[in-house]
């Protein structure tokens, strides 16, 4: 089985976010980057399925060279080879076009990625890629088993859980508890440097969006304590200040 796992390169969850270029770009200075946490789950399950089925696993990233340490970490965790599409993605559509282009050439049986990235959190790339390839996609996948050509998936739906079966090929957006995150081991780290990392140029895409302005959420205000005896004040404040009633 040929598996493709797509990973994002995102700021560590504890990073302090600031912007540059008139608030149109993330300020990467001093920010620690990591493999997107949801992608990390996809990768972990991908590695398990590769081992179970005796298949191959390619890891793909659409982004610039500064993501290579994270790509090599994916190789250390167990991917066989890697592809980096050398471009700063403009939006989800751009990324999806690049992934679909590679997938068309390589005919993967299974394309895994996180349910969403944790930077822009659009959560649409899996759907777009599947559409472009004319195959099905499911998200968020919390359990994934494969036997032959049949895939069993469990996912969360509004107010409950759905278990379904589907046939390969598929595109899946993953989340916990699909697998436990894997920590690269020493052997993996040492073999990562010998595994191929291919850099390819992007296919051209019409620019559909352009960020105009980013802003941070307003800082949390101070907490106002209202004595239990003054319920009237509380209601008034909820109406006039918090505007939630």
């Amino acid at each position: 089985m040929k598996i493709l796992v797509c990973i994002t390169n995102v700021p560590d969850t504890t990073s302090k976010i600031t912007f540059t270029d008139n608030d149109t770009k993330l300020n990467k200075n001093g920010v620690q980057f990591i493999i997107g946490p949801y992608d990390d789950y996809a990768l972990a399950r991908g590695v398990e399925l590769k081992e179970q089925t005796g298949g191959t696993l390619t890891v793909l990233h659409v982004g610039e060279a500064d993501a290579e340490p994270q790509i090599r970490k994916a190789l250390a965790i167990g991917a066989d080879d890697a592809i980096r599409v050398n471009a700063e993605p403009m939006d989800s559509y751009f990324t999806a076009v690049q992934i679909a282009d590679i997938a068309r050439q390589e005919n993967y049986d299974l394309i895994l990625m996180g349910r969403e990235s944790i930077d822009y959190n659009s959560g649409v790339v899996h759907g777009l890629v599947a559409e472009m390839l004319g195959i099905s996609s499911y998200s968020p996948v919390m359990k994934l088993d494969i036997s032959g050509n049949t895939v069993t998936i469990a996912r969360e739906i509004d107010g409950g859980k759905e278990i379904l079966t589907a046939n390969l090929p598929l595109v899946l957006g993953c989340q916990e508890p699909i697998a436990e995150w894997k920590i690269p081991n020493m052997r993996g780290i040492m073999t990562a440097r010998t595994k191929p990392l291919k850099v390819v140029e992007p296919v051209s895409v019409i620019e559909m969006t352009e960020p105009q302005h980013y802003s941070l959420p307003a800082p949390k205000g101070a907490c106002k304590m209202i004595p239990a005896s003054e319920a009237g004040t509380l209601i008034r404040l909820l109406q006039t200040e918090a505007k939630v009633l």
């Binding site: 504890t14 302090k16 340490p69 970490k73 995150w181 690269p184 081991n185 020493m186 780290i189 990562a192």
Partner: protein, 608 residues
């Protein structure tokens, strides 16, 4: 490597142990942690992820465990990741990483409290005696299983009546009638990993015809040998989850082929292995300190009093900055030593030494620096946990908040691997011995300083305006200060100096401060060369604050030493000399500390 290149390493100034006191080192000659490559950083990240996933969620459980199974199973997990075999050569199932990488691993695994102690005892004092002194059969039998964690190791040197005075051990080994076994009898104490170890490195004295050897001999003893019993784990102040036992050997039969190295070579093995343990301990302490600093900074940001977060108070900023300065200093010096060890190993190998020989020789050469780092690293950690408790206030005293464990667990580092007193004495003792043997020319420079203090101070031309020119002059002067005091003390007491431990402690403090302050300065200079001045403004602050601290310490230690032996004219001349050699241009250190603290508070972490 060609012999010519090896010679270049040997010729490098201050590569030899203790030479930093009389020679100037170039920034380009030291390694700085910023130079670790991606693979090394990935290894460190693996260690940290392992702690975050397996250890930190279980710290309470580890400390309260009734049996050693939990900690042993966590060692197994570390073994699965390969973390127990980083320093073991590939042909014995390890990963053959160089020394400085194993330092980085020690740092990255150092923040795991009791677990870190178990891990470092296994990979360090447990495994290394076999790696460095074992014969081929012993290495191939034991190393692969120790590297994978299938077997766990303990190191049995200390006894109830033999601690710092390790060569006074009473455990005995006598050859069996058939000559096939040594029969070991004795009692060992404070043995880390004792409760679950499969392999014990045991130091004993061979007894023959009623005569007991003067020197120790080392043995590899399998748990299955029979005749081994042990007490329940010790009740301890800290590292409560680390399994520490008294172990009894009662007619324990050890096959003769399990003698390590030669009869009578045990003390040397013990000393050399502790040597490695010491520098690694500095790295591990640094890892622990960074974690505590992160927690303290987080807390300072969260905790509000008087309507603002306590991180906004100058007194708290001062603490945060002082923590940072200490850690940055340990880090700068520890990896400088680590690389020097690697370079010497390479050079000795090029001269035809075997792998183990070269490693031992390199470590022996830099034993002074290893002892310096043991003292510095453990004392910085103790400072950091103490101020950590203070920043947490009442919560610092709560057993439900993290500072309680950090504070208790830190303390052992000043005791084991040679107490800090023993290590301070070693620093001075080794320096003087090398000087006596003519390996290190301290006498010449000391005499020159003696002359200099009798002459009129040179108010001459200002230093040229190169980077850190003034600070380097300060360092040169600090070296003169210690040479002056040490030279006079040696002249005064000659062979009886060893009885003047107070003076030795002061001399050691001076030497330690000089090595570390110089390392910080060289690191920042190298960083500036790599990244430019603008991105090193805070690093310059760190170097300056540390240098000022060192000047003060050298001054007060020097004064304590001088006043305890010099009198009348000599006293005055030396005090004047000390004053001259501990001069530093005043600068606004409060502002420097604020800048350092503000950065860490904004980043909400230790980020240097």
């Amino acid at each position: 490597m060609a012999v010519a290149e090896a010679n270049k390493i040997f010729e490098r100034s201050s590569i030899r142990g203790g030479e930093f006191l009389i020679k100037e080192t170039q920034a380009s000659q030291i390694f700085i942690p910023e130079e670790f490559n991606e693979e090394q950083q990935m290894i460190a990240a693996t260690c940290r992820e392992f702690l975050a996933k397996e250890i930190w969620p279980r710290l309470d459980e580890i400390d309260h465990a009734k049996s050693p199974e939990l900690i042993a199973s966590l060692m197994d997990k570390a073994g699965e990741l390969g973390l127990l075999g980083t320093a073991v050569p590939e042909e014995y199932g390890g990963f053959g990483m160089n020394f400085n990488t194993s330092m980085l691993v020690a740092e990255a695994t150092g923040a795991g409290n009791s677990f870190s102690v178990a891990l470092s005892a296994h990979t360090g004092i447990g495994t290394l005696p076999i790696l460095y002194y074992g014969n081929e059969e012993q290495k191939s039998k034991y190393l692969p299983k120790l590297a994978s964690g299938e077997w766990k190791a303990a190191y049995c040197l200390t006894e109830p009546d033999s601690g710092s005075d390790a060569n006074s051990a009473k455990t005995k080994a006598r050859l069996s009638g058939d000559g096939l076994h040594y029969i070991v009898n004795g009692q060992k104490m404070w043995i880390t990993n004792g409760g679950f170890a499969d392999v014990f490195i045991v130091f004993a004295k061979v007894e023959e015809n009623g005569q007991t050897d003067k020197n120790l001999t080392a043995f590899i003893i399998d748990k299955t040998s029979g005749g081994i019993t042990m007490n329940e784990p010790e009740h301890k102040m800290g590292i409560k989850g680390s399994d520490t036992r008294q172990i009894f050997f009662n007619d324990c039969e050890v096959p003769v082929e399990n003698m390590l190295s030669e009869r009578g070579n045990g003390f040397k093995i013990a000393v050399n292995i502790l040597n490695i343990g010491r520098i690694k301990l500095a790295a591990a302490a640094l890892g622990g300190a960074k974690k505590v600093a992160e927690q303290a900074i987080n807390y300072a940001n969260e905790r509000k009093q008087f309507g603002t977060s306590i991180a906004n108070f100058g007194a708290i900023k001062h603490k945060i900055a002082e923590m940072a300065v200490g850690m940055y200093a340990t880090e700068s010096a520890a990896y400088r030593v680590g690389q020097n060890i690697d370079d010497l190993i390479t050079a000795f190998q090029a001269k035809g030494m075997s792998d183990s020989e070269a490693k031992l020789k390199a470590l022996e050469e830099l034993a002074i620096e290893c002892a310096i780092m043991k003292v510095h690293g453990s004392e910085v950690l103790d400072f950091v946990v103490d101020e950590g408790v203070q920043i947490y206030g009442g919560m610092g005293f709560s057993a439900d908040a993290p500072m309680d464990r950090a504070y208790r667990d830190s303390r052992i580092n000043r005791i084991f691997e040679g107490t800090n007193e023993i290590n301070r004495m070693l620093v001075v003792d080794m320096l003087l011995k090398r000087a006596m043997k003519g390996q290190l020319d301290l006498m010449g420079p000391a005499a020159a300083v003696g002359k200099e203090i009798m002459s009129i101070p040179d108010f001459g031309a200002d230093e040229e305006e190169t980077l850190f020119a003034k600070e380097k002059k300060v360092i040169r002067n600090l070296k003169k200060a210690v040479l002056m005091v040490a030279g006079a003390a040696v002249q005064k007491f000659m062979m009886k100096l060893s009885e003047e431990q107070e003076i030795i402690m002061s001399l050691a403090d001076m030497v330690i401060e000089i090595y570390v302050a110089e390392s910080v300065l060289l690191r920042v200079e190298k960083r500036i060369g790599l990244l430019g001045e603008e991105r090193n403004a805070l690093q310059k602050d760190l170097a300056l604050v540390y240098l000022n601290r060192s000047v003060e310490k050298v001054n007060s230690a020097g004064r304590a030493a001088i006043t305890s032996f010099a009198e009348s004219d000599e006293l005055n001349v030396m005090l004047m000399g000390l004053k001259r050699f501990t001069k530093i241009e005043p600068s606004n250190l409060k502002n420097a500390r604020r800048r350092i603290a503000d950065e860490l508070i904004a980043k909400n972490n230790y980020t240097f």
